[in-house]
C-alpha cells in the first residue's frame, strides 16, 4: 500500500497537516465561531426573555380579565338596578297618571250627571208649566166650564204626574 511504502512523504504530511490544523484552529476560534456562537446566545436569550415576557403578559392579562369580569358584573348589577328603578318610577308615574285621569273622568262624569240632572229638572219644570197651561186651556175649552181653584190645581197636578210618569216610562 502506498500509504505504508511512501515513507518519504510522511514528514511533509505530518508537518503540513499539524500546521494546517493549528492554523484552522486559530482562524475558526478567532473569526469563525464567535459570531455564530454569539448570535446563538443572543437568540437563546431573546427567546427566553420573550417567553418570560409572554408569560408575564399572560399573567397580567388574566389579572385584568378577572378585574374586567368583576367590573362587568358590577356594571351589570348597576344597570339592572337602574332599569329596575326606572321601571318602578315609570310604573308609579303611570299609576299616578291613571289615577289622575280616572279622578278627572269621575269628576267630569259627576259634573255631567249634575248638569244633566239640572237640565232635566229645568226641563221637567218647564214641561210641567207648559203642560199645566195646555191642560187647563184644553180642559176649559172641552168642558166649557170653570172649575174652582182647588179642584183646578188638583186636576192639573194629576195630569202633570201622569205626563211625567209617561215621560219616565218612555225614558
Amino acid at each position: 500500500m502506498p500509504q505504508f511504502e511512501q515513507v518519504s512523504v510522511f514528514s511533509s504530511l505530518i508537518f503540513w497537516s499539524v500546521i494546517s490544523f493549528v492554523a484552522l484552529l486559530f482562524l475558526l476560534k478567532k473569526f469563525a465561531f464567535p459570531p455564530i456562537l454569539e448570535i446563538l446566545e443572543v437568540r437563546e436569550k431573546k427567546i427566553r426573555d420573550d417567553i418570560e415576557g409572554a408569560a408575564n403578559i399572560k399573567q397580567e392579562a388574566e389579572k385584568l380579565k378577572v378585574e374586567f369580569d368583576l367590573q362587568l358584573k358590577t356594571a351589570h348589577e348597576k344597570a339592572n338596578d337602574i332599569v329596575q328603578l326606572a321601571h318602578d318610577a315609570s310604573k308609579k308615574e303611570t299609576e299616578k297618571a291613571l289615577q289622575d285621569t280616572q279622578g278627572k273622568v269621575r269628576q267630569m262624569i259627576k259634573e255631567a250627571e249634575h248638569e244633566i240632572q239640572v237640565s232635566r229638572n229645568k226641563l221637567l219644570s218647564e214641561i210641567r208649566g207648559y203642560t199645566a197651561a195646555l191642560t187647563i186651556a184644553s180642559t176649559e175649552r172641552i168642558l166649557k166650564k170653570t172649575l174652582d181653584e182647588k179642584e183646578h190645581t188638583r186636576i192639573v197636578d194629576e195630569t202633570i204626574e201622569e205626563v211625567i210618569r209617561e215621560l219616565e216610562k218612555k225614558a
Partner: protein
C-alpha cells in the same frame, strides 16, 4: 503499467512543490493542497455568514452552520460536561478539519489526506497525549487511578492495571486505524468499480459505473459519520480523564 492499474495507485503522492528543510522533506503534494482547499471551503463558509455579522433570522447556510456548532456543543457537554466548553474550539476544529478532508477526497482527481495512516495516527497520538496532560494537570497523581476501574477487588489490581494500560494505548491505534481504514476502503472500492466500468465492454460497463454513483453517495455519509465518530471519541477520551470514573 500494472501499478497504474492498481486500485491503490491513486493513493500515491508525488511532490508538486519541493521543499526541503534541513534533512526533512516538506514538499507540497496533492494531499496537502486538497486539504488546504477543504479548509478554505470551511473557513469561507463561516466567513460568508460572519462577514456582515450573523443574522438574528438565519438563512440556509447560517442555519446549517448553527446546527453543526450546536451539535458539537451538545456533544462536548454530553461527553465532557460543563467543563467541556473549554475544549469546544479544539473539538469543533477537529470535526470540521476531518469532515472537509474526508469530503474533499470524494471529488475525482482530489485526495483524502485522512486515508494516510500517518496523518490520522499523528492526530490520534496528539489527542492521546493531550488527554494525558489534561488528566495529570487536573488530578495530579490521582489520575493514575484511571487504570483501576471502580469496584475491582484489590487482588485483581495487578491484572487489571496492565489490561487498562493496553486498553488506553489501544485508543489512539483504534482511533487512527478506524478513520484511515474507512477512507482507504471507500476510495479503493470506488477505484475498483471505476476501473471495472472503464475496462469492461460498454454493454456491461454501465453497471459498475452506476455502482460508483451509489457508493459515492454512501461515501459522503461515511465521511460525515467518520468525522463524527473521531470527534465523539475525542470527547469521550477527554471526558474520561476529566471525570476519571
Amino acid at each position: 503499467m500494472a501499478d497504474k492499474e492498481s486500485p491503490l495507485h491513486h493513493f500515491e503522492l508525488h511532490p508538486i512543490i519541493d521543499i526541503h528543510l534541513g534533512g526533512l522533506d516538506l514538499s507540497i503534494n496533492k494531499a496537502i493542497i486538497a486539504m488546504w482547499i477543504g479548509m478554505a471551503v470551511v473557513y469561507g463558509l463561516f466567513m460568508v455568514v460572519g462577514k456582515n455579522g450573523a443574522s438574528m433570522i438565519p438563512g440556509k447556510l447560517q442555519s446549517m452552520l448553527e446546527m453543526s456548532l450546536e451539535f458539537i456543543k451538545g456533544m462536548v457537554k454530553e461527553f465532557i460536561g460543563d467543563e467541556g466548553m473549554k475544549y469546544f474550539n479544539f473539538v469543533g476544529t477537529l470535526f470540521f478539519f476531518i469532515l472537509c478532508c474526508n469530503l474533499i477526497g470524494l471529488i475525482p482527481g482530489s485526495y483524502t489526506i485522512t486515508s494516510q495512516l500517518v496523518v490520522t495516527g499523528t492526530f490520534a497520538v496528539i489527542i492521546f497525549v493531550m488527554t494525558l496532560i489534561i488528566g495529570i494537570s487536573k488530578h495530579g497523581g490521582h489520575f493514575f487511578s484511571i487504570l483501576v476501574p471502580p469496584g475491582v477487588p484489590k487482588i485483581m489490581i495487578p491484572v487489571m492495571v496492565p489490561i487498562e494500560i493496553i486498553s488506553m494505548l489501544a485508543r489512539p491505534i483504534s482511533l487512527s486505524v478506524r478513520l484511515f481504514a474507512n477512507m482507504t476502503a471507500g476510495h479503493t472500492v470506488l477505484a475498483v468499480l471505476f476501473g471495472l466500468g472503464l475496462s469492461a465492454p460498454m454493454w456491461i460497463g454501465w453497471l459498475p459505473l452506476g455502482f460508483t454513483v451509489i457508493i459515492n453517495g454512501l461515501e459522503i455519509a461515511i465521511a460525515v459519520i467518520q468525522a463524527y465518530i473521531f470527534t465523539t471519541l475525542t470527547c469521550v477520551y477527554i471526558g474520561d480523564v476529566i471525570k476519571l470514573h
